[in-house]
């Protein structure tokens, strides 16, 4: 796929629904899934005489996001009308921001812990607020015009985040989206639910092809209808190959006749993009400032307050896990990518158990496995960090081997029991040192040949004793049995000398 004769150039436009209780310019609820047209009022259905009033909470969430995206925030921003006719746009215009967006010139850092690409900054061209349109369901056959419109979504606050065309592979595009979603989730500004339309992605992609005359850009294609990040990655890979084939065929460059921008839709079933009919709208949106809304003034004090309230963001957290807790970059990435609550659980576990590496391993292998199997979030995980820390300590002190501990953990996760309860119901007991020493002495007395083999330098011979030890006491830790037996044999040897 990574044909050396061309470079892929991708820019992404992400629409994020901000998590406000009410719409951007009226007080209707933004709740998803209500019966059609039940969350509407004169303002959001554009009745004559109604007027918009800006939702300050929506602006605050947008500001928080823009600051987290390292954007420049101008002190003055305004609202514009983007005008076009569509049945799901009841006013005949969308209130958006055109030439003075609330933020621009930011960036988001992306990285791949496995090193699939070098860490990089993806530029953010702008992020602006706008109201969502409604939903249309069409049955517009020839000679028939049957459409149904639901205006519940109309007026929902959207933040449109436009990246620079800085991504050079489908993997980078996916990483950008993953990192952006993670950031938005950490900020608590959106639930980023793609199924409910809270996060929508459009991509612009073309190729820079190396030719004997230098680099040539191919026509830009806007790709829509991608319903998951995986779909974005696949659509970009598909488009790159397709565009290169077209280029080889036609040699039409960007801006040349026939080289204008086109729109294609991703077909998930067929795993391919298809040309899309343009909407029945003019490309001249006749933007002009909305006279019904006052411009918004953002002060330095406001920005300071937003910065102070931002909390620890994913990039900083990854670094902290590495420097303060000695976790490697990959593990830190996995933990941080699970979200803030998961990180908090990890930090508590590492703190109480005093063993961050063991905590990290258990979180990634065991806790994540259970969460995935049972489709739970960490908030609903039945084992508290304190309980799990107790289990980890028991393992650390050798009182329980890893495989027995895993049984205990599964029982705890299943029932919500504490560690002692779970061990009791499994009939597992921690074996104390004295008890184990007695057991080992008995075994050595009963197996002089093993002792002789070990003394002859064949440590592996101990293996024969471990099975016997497990039969006598199922809770015996095999590692400890091995260690203890070896020590006892060495003590015997030195006593004989």
């Amino acid at each position: 796929m990574s044909d050396p004769s061309y470079e892929i150039v991708i820019g992404l436009e992400v629409h994020v629904q901000l998590q406000t209780a009410t719409k951007l310019f009226c007080r209707c609820s933004t709740r998803f899934g209500a019966p059609p047209n039940t969350q509407t009022c004169p303002v959001c259905i554009g009745l004559p005489g109604s007027l918009p009033v800006m939702n300050r909470q929506a602006f605050a969430l947008a500001l928080k996001t823009a600051v987290a995206l390292n954007c420049q925030i101008p002190g003055f921003t305004k609202w514009d009308r983007k005008q076009y006719y569509y049945p799901d746009l009841p006013k005949g215009y969308q209130i958006s921001q055109f030439d003075l967006p609330m933020s621009q010139h930011g960036y988001l850092e992306i990285n791949d812990a496995k090193g699939a690409f070098a860490p990089k900054r993806v530029g953010i061209l702008r992020a602006h607020l706008e109201e969502d349109a409604g939903k249309s369901m069409h049955d517009e056959l020839a000679g028939k015009a049957d459409s149904r419109i639901d205006l519940n979504r109309t007026g929902t606050p959207l933040l449109e985040i436009v990246s620079q065309p800085d991504m050079r592979s489908p993997q980078e595009a996916r990483a950008y989206l993953t990192e952006l979603k993670l950031l938005l989730t950490y900020l608590g500004v959106s639930d980023c639910n793609m199924q409910e339309g809270s996060l929508r992605v459009d991509a612009n992609i073309n190729l820079h092809v190396a030719t004997s005359q230098g680099t040539v850009a191919t026509p830009i294609v806007e790709v829509k209808n991608m319903n998951s990040f995986r779909a974005v990655e696949r659509a970009m890979a598909f488009e790159a190959t397709r565009q290169f084939d077209v280029w080889k065929d036609t040699r039409i460059a960007l801006g040349a006749p026939g080289g204008h921008k086109t729109t294609r839709g991703w077909d998930e079933q067929a795993q391919m993009t298809r040309p899309q009919r343009q909407k029945e709208e003019s490309s001249d949106y006749r933007y002009f400032p909305d006279p019904d809304l006052a411009p918004v003034i953002v002060t330095d004090q406001q920005l300071d307050a937003v910065r102070a309230d931002l909390g620890e963001l994913p990039a900083a957290l990854r670094t902290r896990l590495q420097t303060e807790w000695g976790i490697d970059a990959y593990d830190a990435d996995v933990i941080v990518n699970q979200g803030r609550a998961f990180v908090d659980y990890f930090l508590a576990l590492a703190n109480i158990s005093g063993d961050a590496k063991r905590a990290s391993n258990w979180m990634q292998q065991d806790v994540l496995r259970v969460l995935n199997e049972r489709a739970l979030t960490i908030d609903l995980f039945p084992v508290s960090s304190t309980s799990l820390a107790q289990l980890l300590k028991t393992v650390q002190q050798g009182e329980l081997d890893t495989s027995r501990a895993r049984d205990v953990f599964n029982a705890m996760a299943e029932s919500g029991d504490s560690m002692p309860q779970a061990m009791q119901s499994l009939g597992i007991q921690a074996v104390h040192g004295d008890e184990l020493a007695d057991l080992c002495r008995e075994l050595l007395e009963a197996n002089p040949s093993v002792v002789a083999d070990v003394q002859a330098g064949k440590d592996k011979a101990i293996g024969a004793l471990i099975g016997q030890a497990k039969r006598r006491n199922p809770n015996a830790n095999p590692n400890q049995v091995r260690q203890l037996c070896l020590e006892l044999i060495r003590e015997q040897g030195s006593a004989q000398e």
């Binding site: 004169p42 259905i45 554009g46 009745l47 004559p48 005489g49 109604s50 007027l51 918009p52 009033v53 800006m54 009308r81 005008q83 006719y85 049945p87 009841p90 006013k91 005949g92 215009y93 517009e140 020839a142 000679g143 028939k144 015009a145 459409s147 419109i149 029945e280 001249d284 006749r286 002009f288 006279p291 019904d292 809304l293 006052a294």
Partner: protein
């Protein structure tokens, strides 16, 4: 009290008699309903009269008053409402086919304020379609005549609002003023009309023509009544982001205080070409009256006023083209006959197909686009369409900077002119309109001539300042002439006091058209 004379009383007098028990609200309302019954067939000021509702509301107010319950400022007093202002459960048409059957599910803020003041909404008045025009002739629902001469227009766009007062069919009414739409009909009909400072009165529920220029304001037959109604209408509204958040002065108390050492500015540019000599004489005479009251008259210049008409029509049309986009037949209001439209479409497709014109077939409208086109071309009248097209053009790519952006810059300069002027003078005095009322049909074929009639009024809207019209004379044809007073932003009290001073020593405001 004899019913014939009730309509002669001012609103302030009516309230006194209602309060003293000399009159009941039912008597007052019935008297005005009788007047409407008697005269509105000729004048056609009203698009709808809410007789039953008004009488039952009046009865309720009377009961409350008898029971000693507290009542509002305008308790029991009829008020007429221009049909551009939304009234819950009552059709609000903008005098357009587009909204002929539209009934808003909510009250405009000013309607809520009137209801809180216990005013009786007696009916909705005629206007130019979507408030676009200066004669009320672009109404697609009725032709309103000027009570002073039934062959003449009442002015516009609030023609019904002014005519109903002149004919004694209501004591108070409210209109809207985007470029003179309250002041000019007030002048043509010999009544008082005030355009408040932009932001003083909530626009919530006022069907938008040009959002940055529109203001709702009062019309009345004297300055005191005007002050009283303004006091009820004004005030901050959180539902209107452009509403000023300031306390409302007690206009009704302040109005009777004369102004000492008043300086009136007279705009040189307002006495140029196109001003009717009788209007000029009446305005000059009014200035002499002010001088006799101790005022100083000073010559001033508003150098950018000659660009006001062009600036106004660009901004107003741009905003209108956007504001009226919502009337597309999808969600409410007029929609073309879809069955007929689809039948036409199919017939056209067949005809093209049978002639083998495949490319032409591809160009044919989709049903949706055709529905939009037919709905809008059938639902809007000519003047509305003209302004939508002008505005759409001016906002288009490639023209935006040359028209809209430039107009905004000139608008700023016009405001600066006023700011400079008001550093020298307290108020600016001049004509409202270049001529008295036109004959019906006189200007309908010449929109440019009609636009020029807005010469003296549009600047106040562009600058966002306040202005009013006071009756100051009659032409040789017996037509009323108005004096315009313009004041700095939020200085309505000064305008009202100045109008009251004039009114105290003149009797133009007491003249009534013959036969009414």
């Amino acid at each position: 009290m004899e019913s014939m004379s009730i309509h002669e009383l001012t609103a302030t007098e009516l309230i006194q008699r209602l309060e003293s028990g000399d009159l009941t609200s039912v008597e007052v309302v019935r008297s005005f309903l009788d007047r409407i019954e008697q005269f509105d067939e000729k004048v056609q000021a009203f698009l709808r009269v809410e007789s039953q509702r008004a009488l039952s509301d009046a009865e309720r107010i009377d009961q409350r008053r008898r029971g000693g319950d507290p009542v509002g400022r305008l308790a029991g007093l009829p008020v007429a409402v221009k049909d551009v202002i939304c009234t819950e459960g009552q059709p609000t048409t903008c005098a357009s086919r587009m909204l002929q059957h539209f009934t808003p599910p909510y009250d405009a803020t000013v309607i809520r304020r009137l209801k809180q003041a216990d005013a009786i909404l007696i009916g909705k008045t005629n206007m130019d379609e979507f408030a676009m025009g200066g004669t009320t002739e672009s109404s697609t629902l009725a032709t309103t005549c000027n009570p002073w001469d039934l062959q003449r227009v009442p002015g516009g766009s609030s023609g019904g609002a002014a005519a109903c007062l002149a004919a004694g069919m209501a004591p108070l009414s409210i209109g809207s003023d985007t470029g003179g739409s309250i002041r000019q009909p007030a002048s043509f009909c010999g009544v008082h009309g005030l355009k408040p400072t932009y932001g003083l009165v909530s626009r919530y529920g006022l069907i938008a023509f040009a959002s940055s220029l529109d203001q709702i304001g009062p019309l009345a037959r004297n300055a005191e009544d005007l002050a009283l109604l303004l006091e009820v209408l004004a005030g901050h509204d959180p539902s209107d982001s452009t509403s000023a958040n300031l306390p409302v002065p007690e206009y009704s108390q302040l109005v009777s205080q004369p102004l000492d050492g008043l300086t009136l500015g007279v705009v040189r540019e307002h006495f140029g070409e196109g001003l009717d000599s009788e209007v000029q004489a009446a305005v000059r005479e009014a200035l002499r009256v002010y001088e006799s009251l101790g005022a100083t008259v000073k010559d001033i210049s508003l150098p950018h006023s000659r660009y006001a008409i062009a600036t106004y029509y660009i901004i107003a049309c741009c905003e209108a083209s956007s504001n009226l986009a919502r009337y597309d037949g999808v969600h409410y209001g007029y929609r073309t006959d879809e069955a007929a439209m689809l039948a036409d479409l199919v017939a056209e497709q067949r005809a093209l197909a049978s002639r083998g014109e495949a490319t032409a077939l591809d160009d044919i409208d989709s049903p949706l686009v055709r529905m939009y086109r037919q709905t809008r071309s059938e639902g809007f009248g000519a003047e509305v369409k003209r302004r939508i097209m002008l505005g759409t053009y001016a906002l288009s790519h490639g023209y935006y900077d040359a028209y809209y952006v430039k107009a905004l810059k000139v608008r700023r300069l016009i405001r600066n002119d006023f700011d400079a002027a008001f550093r020298e003078v307290d108020l600016i005095a001049g004509p409202v309109a270049p001529t008295p009322a036109y004959r019906l049909g006189e200007k309908t074929e010449d929109p440019l001539a009609m636009y020029l009639g807005d010469l003296y009024t549009v600047s106040a809207n562009l600058a966002g300042i306040c202005a009013l019209s006071v009756p100051c004379g009659l032409s040789s044809d017996g037509l009323p002439i108005g004096l315009q007073l313009q004041g700095p932003p939020l200085d309505e009290q000064r305008l009202l006091r100045a109008a009251r001073m004039y009114q105290a020593v003149t009797d133009w405001h007491t003249r009534r058209p013959e036969g009414f």
